[in-house]
Amino acid sequence: MTPKVMIKTNKISKTVNTSQGELQILKPISFEVKAGESVAIVGASGSGKSTLLSLLAGLDEVSEGQIALDGEAMEVMDEEQRAQLRGAKVGFIFQSFMLVQSLTAIENIMLPAEIAGHSDARKRAEKILTLVGLEHRATHYPNQLSGGEQQRVAIARAFISEPKILFADEPTGNLDAANSEKIEKLLFELNQNSNTTLVLVTHDQGLADQCQRQLHMQAGELTEVFSESDTEKVG
């Protein structure tokens, strides 16, 4: 059976207004990501990979083109509808962890489940906190945790609502080598176990190599798409 298409883009682009006039920061891009697939978006700084991630995740609106997440067209949604879609189907991991500083580790993990209205948020959080090996840090605030621990909390938070798609922005960018390795391992383990589609943005070729596919970005253009088995040229 052919895997379901989880992300589908059709000539999506992003144009912004600057003092010098309009500037196209993302040129028309089309590609698909299948369910359970892991994809790395790689490229130099300013190549447009974070912009692409923000459009795929519905954090920003496309200027042109169509984009569908699990079959739902996002270009016709307003911010509220996109938020609802994110809450239901998407998980996030960020380079700077983006934990709410005034909530404890477990409360940060509970947050998406609570927003989604799950009454068993705490139970779910405790379970997943154990999975990431931080049960002893449940009541600690983010600034009482190390960088690696904070990212593990962020990963736990991302998986609590059992998302269909996980977006990760430089998930190991703020960590040392030892911690990066642990986080990568945890991320891919959870991804495989929960059959989540993973889209991550990274500079780290080592991390990108662990993904099934790589999308290379340069100056706002998707230049090449590599998969584990073959190499495709995107024109």
């Binding site: 983006m98 500083q101 005034s102």
Partner: protein
């Protein structure tokens, strides 16, 4: 209400409170509620106490004055409504003794008089009296010191008042409702009301006034007046309270009341400024959590509910702590003041509590409105792009919400739309002007930022780079310093004016009936005993008989043979006419022109001119150009009214209703009036001073002056305490502002520190930055202070306005010192953290 939103809001509130993240906004609300409550409650209590104390000067809380006896049912109704009542009848009558006579003010009082204050008596004339709770017995009279002199009698002698003989048993030294006009009153004789009928002074044609005194709860008094008012005839009745009193006491208490109101209004504005600053900071600190929640799928309505609930929780906690703290502060001040003001300040008032809660809530909600709307507009994209702030940018909305809040509070508090509107429009003009000035200064300052990077350049660079933030901060500093200046200078001007009203050496004795030949001897005799007499005023007594040939009522007492029942109102007594070419100090011509010296003497054809006092002109319905006829020693003198004067009767200097041009009285032999000051501890010297001049009458006003000075002193002390409270509130607001702005500088300090900048460079640059802001804010505050004071003094306090140059120097220096020091302390606290801790705080 979404359950998830409530539980999230509550959890965030609990954690943030515990972690001290809400400290600034919480402190701002606590400060606003505490300062408004303590100030309002203290001033309300003090004002009530002072009004209570001042009520002694009308011998009651309210007085109904009437030309005719009132319906006794009115008194019964007052008693039914829980009021205490007393009654006094006033008659002008002749008193006879030892073949001498004098015109007196006869007071017949019933039991209960005075309801407020005390009557004081003595056992010999011209000595200090002692308070008594009683009234004269049947057929007894208490008379003032000067009557012993004019009638040549002693205690125990008899006097005749009308048809009744009274035994004089006490010297009457003081009655609470004597009034402050030295020459307006004749010597007083106090008898029992029951004895009045036997005198027969009441009757057709007699000049009788009736005063009905009332005391009771404010509400009962107001309810009674509501019932009574429709039945009153304005031609006959007059309902008075000390607030309506035009005397120095009434004005002092009234002005102090306005000052308290002003101080409380300014405290509200201070509170608003501190909450505005804190709310802005609160909003910025929550950009990240909002972006995270939105990213994780929280709908906008949920985010709105979470943060609105947070504000409700913070406001509630702030109000609770603020009320407790405000009450405690106020109680401490009450205890501190208790010994210094001779009034009881334990009355409880609900209004300040309601105002304080209302202020806290309105400030917190309306000043948070714009920052919250900005917060709600934060894009989820901020999770990827940390530089993204809020997308909403409508300064107009911010000004509308903040301005609306301040206006609403001022209106609610003052209950006066006009004053609120004046203050509000002035405030808007001021802030707009300040904003332009600030931008100009920042632009000018840019060139100072050039050159080798030292602390000075770093400071200017930071000011220029954050022009918008700095301009808001500068304005809030300037407004705070200005408000403090207004309260300080207003207090100084007001107390100074009170002190000028009764300076040291104010005459406390008056000499009347001095003959021309006695003048030099009297002056020399007094000088020998080290008592200075400055000026003799000539006086000729005359009876006012007609206006424009229309005859007026001329009777001065029932015994008067000229008695006429009808006709235009007259003076009711003989007038003291004086002449002068010089306008007396403190007197102002409000209509017509003063005599031109020299000119009048050569124009024999012209009518004689007279200048009349404003009050008498209103009472007798006299106008410029009217011809007045006086009967002086059986000769008729016609005088044309050429000017009307406003006379300061509180000056305790001899003043006159009628001042004539000199040639009008050149053929008459005057007697003279003078005044002198004798310290209270030399009161016993009166006998030796007056002994050689038996015919000269001495009027003792020492007791009145002491009463006046006493109340003014107490009001001054009260005003000083209010000033201290406002200064303390202002200082706390400044600290909160510096604290909030220091957090904003944290990121930059962390970066500078990380890049290896030395502590002294960072510290000096921050101190310089705050010093610059302090100097500019101080200078702008001094300028704004003049503008606000001019409006307040001329439009609200009815005081003369002037420039306050010394504050143009003091304000910038004080601004630099205070703001600079606070900046240095804040910076020192931040730099005491190590770099990694500093960086971690930023995350």
């Amino acid at each position: 209400m979404n359950n998830q939103a409530f539980s999230l809001a509550w959890r965030l509130f609990r954690h943030e409170t515990k972690r001290g993240e809400l400290t600034i906004i919480l402190l701002a609300i606590i400060l606003s509620v505490a300062s408004v409550l303590s100030l309002s409650l203290f001033s309300e209590r003090l004002e009530t106490a002072l009004t209570e104390k001042s009520a002694e000067f009308i011998a009651a809380d309210r007085v109904l004055e009437s030309d005719k006896p009132i319906d006794l049912g009115w008194i019964e109704k007052a008693k039914e409504m829980g009021l205490n009542t007393a009654h006094q009848t006033y008659a002008r009558s002749m008193v006879f003794a030892n073949e001498q006579m004098d015109l007196v003010s006869l007071r017949a009082a019933d039991t209960g008089y005075p309801l407020k204050g005390t009557v004081k008596t003595a056992d010999e004339p011209f000595v200090a009296g002692k308070a008594t709770n009683s009234l004269p017995n049947e057929s007894e009279a208490w008379i003032e010191s000067q009557l012993f002199q004019t009638l040549g009698i002693n205690l125990g002698d008899s006097i005749e008042v009308g048809d009744q003989v009274f035994t004089v048993t006490k010297v009457l030294t003081e009655v609470p409702d004597a009034g402050f006009s030295v020459f307006g009153g004749d010597p007083k004789v106090l008898i029992r009301k029951a004895d009045l009928a036997a005198t027969n002074v009441e009757g057709p044609g007699s000049r009788i006034d009736y005063s009905y005194f009332f005391t009771g709860d404010r509400d009962d008094l107001e309810n009674y007046y509501d019932w009574l008012e429709p039945q009153l005839d304005r031609e006959i009745h007059d309902w008075d309270s000390i607030e309506d009193d035009e005397s120095a006491i009434g004005r002092s208490v009234g002005r102090a009341g306005q000052y308290f109101l002003l101080a409380s209004l300014l405290a509200i504005v201070l509170a608003a400024v501190s909450i505005a600053v804190a709310a802005q900071r609160y909003s910025q600190r929550h950009y990240d959590p909002v972006a995270i929640m939105k990213t994780l799928g929280a709908p906008k309505s949920m985010v709105q509910q979470i943060y609105l609930l947070q504000i409700v929780f913070i406001t509630t906690l702030g109000i609770l702590i603020g009320v407790a703290l405000g009450y405690a502060i106020q109680q401490v001040v009450v205890m501190a003041v208790a010994d210094r003001v001779d009034v009881s300040i334990d009355a409880w008032h609900w209004k300040p509590l309601i105002i304080a809660i209302f202020t806290g809530s309105i400030c917190a909600i309306l000043f948070s409105l714009y920052p919250l709307l900005k917060l709600f507009s934060v894009s989820p994209l901020r999770v990827l792009r940390r530089d993204l702030g809020a997308s909403l940018s409508s300064r107009m909305l911010q000004f509308l919400a903040s301005g609306g809040a301040i206006f609403l509070l001022m209106w609610a508090y003052s209950q006066n739309l006009k004053i609120s509107a004046i203050l509000f429009v002035s405030g808007i003009t001021l802030v707009t002007t300040l904003m332009f000035v600030t931008f100009g200064l920042i632009r000018v300052g840019r060139k100072f930022a050039q050159g080798k990077m030292g602390p000075w350049q770093l400071a200017w660079a930071r000011i220029s780079r954050r022009a918008m933030d700095n301009s808001v901060q500068l304005i809030s500093f300037a407004v705070t310093i200005m408000l403090l200046l207004v309260v300080l200078v207003m207090r100084n001007d007001m107390v100074q004016q009170w002190q000028n009203q009764l300076p040291e050496g104010t005459p406390n004795y008056f000499l009347v009936n001095i003959s021309h030949s006695q003048q030099p001897n009297l002056q020399a005799h007094f000088l020998k005993q080290d008592v200075n007499i400055e000026k003799f005023y000539p006086v000729v007594r005359g009876r006012f008989v007609a206006v424009n040939d229309e005859k007026v009522r001329t009777a001065v007492s029932k015994e008067d043979p000229d008695e006429r029942d009808s006709g235009r109102n007259g003076l009711g007594r003989e007038a003291n006419l004086t002449w002068s070419t010089e306008l007396q100090k403190g007197t102002e011509i409000i209509a017509g022109t003063w005599f031109e010296e020299g000119l009048t003497l050569t124009e024999a054809e012209r009518p004689y001119e007279v200048s009349i006092e404003k009050g008498i002109a209103e009472r007798l319905r006299l106008n410029l150009g009217d011809m007045l006829t006086f009967n002086i020693g059986s000769e008729i003198v016609n005088l044309k009214v050429t000017s009307i004067r406003d006379v300061n009767w509180q000056s305790m200097q001899p003043n006159f209703f009628f001042v004539l041009e000199p040639r009008a009285l050149q053929n008459y032999i005057p007697t003279y009036i003078s005044s002198f000051n004798l310290p209270s501890d030399r009161k016993s010297d009166i006998t030796s001073l007056m002994k050689p001049f038996a015919n000269v009458t001495l009027i003792d006003v020492d007791a009145r002056i002491n009463q006046l000075r006493n109340i003014v002193d107490q009001v001054s002390v009260a005003v000083e305490f209010i000033l201290v409270l406002v200064l303390a509130a202002g200082a706390l607001v400044l600290i909160a502002q510096v604290q909030a702005s220091m957090d904003e500088r944290q990121e930059e300090l962390a970066i500078l520190r990380t890049l290896g900048a030395k502590g002294w460079l960072i510290r000096s640059s921050v101190v310089y930055e705050f010093v610059i802001i302090g100097v500019v804010a101080g200078a702008m505050a001094a300028a704004s202070n003049e503008f606000s004071l001019y409006l307040l003094q001329t439009q609200v306090f009815q005081m003369p306005a002037g420039m306050h140059w010394k504050y143009w120097g003091i304000a910038p220096v004080a601004g630099a010192l205070v703001v600079g020091c606070l900046g240095a302390i804040g910076c020192w606290r931040l730099l005491s953290l190590n770099t990694s801790h500093l960086l971690r705080k930023m995350v």
